[in-house]
């Protein structure tokens, strides 16, 4: 009887080890190299890091340099980033993302657009401050007040020149 039990324990251990060793060859913690490519499905945190935060910074840097063509482009990109994020994640933790974005950034984005068209830096700075406040208000509404956005004090893009080329 004890031999049978020992054999079964050994067999079970072998199966377990074999399964694990097989997994380590075919699949790592990052996935399986032989798997079919999965649809790319970034969630809100990744979308914010990819589409919103860098564009917010680039818009600020362009406006600070009074590079209005670049600011206009960065503004369009930022607005499109919000559209893409809201379409990809229309509800986050149950909350209506398009409505939150609208409440947080619609008015400041319109003010920035006007400032860029007028090439009026003071209005740009004020509107950009309101945009940043909107970001933080939205983070607070979604229980992420610890993610604090600010007007950038330096460029995070050493490979891009934000100054106007005359």
């Amino acid at each position: 009887m004890s031999k049978i039990v020992s054999s079964l324990i050994a067999f079970a251990a072998f199966i377990t080890v074999a399964a694990w060793s097989g997994r380590s060859v075919a699949q790592t913690q990052f996935g399986d190299a032989d798997a079919q490519p999965a649809p790319f499905n970034p969630q809100m945190a990744a979308l914010m890091s990819m589409l919103i935060q860098p564009r917010h910074a680039k818009l600020a840097l362009a406006g600070h340099a009074e590079n209005w063509p670049l600011a206009s482009y960065a503004l369009k990109e930022l607005r499109q980033g919000f559209v893409v994020a809201a379409r990809a994640v229309p509800r986050w933790k149950g909350l209506p993302v398009p409505d939150l974005f609208d409440a947080a950034v619609d008015q400041p984005l319109k003010l920035i657009e006007a400032a860029v068209k007028l090439q009026y830096k003071r209005q740009f700075d004020e509107a950009f401050g309101r945009l940043t406040e909107g970001c933080n208000a939205c983070h607070a509404t979604t229980d992420h007040a610890f993610v604090v956005i600010k007007v950038p004090s330096a460029s995070a893009f050493p490979n891009q020149d934000f100054e106007t080329k005359r």
Binding site: V5, G31, Q43, K93, Q107
Partner: protein, 132 residues
């Protein structure tokens, strides 16, 4: 013998569990956000706006369960309010929302109907104020 069978079953379960967790880890999501929502009935959420459609921060919002209890809160900087669920057994139809702010009167309260039955989606009610 029964003990031996149980051991084999346990081993098989371990192998299966390892396989399933590996499959789970290989999901298609990227940067999945944390989800700490509870399921104590739907929560209540909404905007308070003025008659022009602009959101109204710091408005008083009262969410009441008919003839029983009321929760009073205020809208945040974005003009939204959130109130946790009253429990699974509470019918959202029995919940009334009203809003108030000095210098305003309540114009209308509109409940937004969602096609989803996901319990994580709050009951949304928009309250509109008009300047007096």
């Amino acid at each position: 013998m029964k003990f031996a069978m149980r051991l084999t079953a346990t081993a098989a379960a371990m192998v299966l569990a390892c396989g399933l967790s590996a499959a789970w880890a290989g999901g298609a999501g990227f940067g999945d956000d944390d989800d700490d929502s509870d399921e104590a009935g739907p929560s209540y959420f909404g905007f308070v706006r003025d008659s022009s459609g602009a959101t109204v921060p710091n408005a008083k919002v009262t969410v009441s369960l008919k003839n029983r209890i009321s929760i009073v809160t205020r809208t945040d900087a974005l003009g939204t309010y959130k109130v946790p669920g009253f429990g699974r057994e509470t019918d959202p139809k029995d919940i009334e929302v009203s809003c108030d702010k000095e210098g305003y009167k309540q114009l209308r309260v509109v409940r937004r109907s969602s096609p989803s039955t996901d319990p994580k989606i709050p009951v949304e009610t928009e309250c509109t104020l008009q300047r007096i």
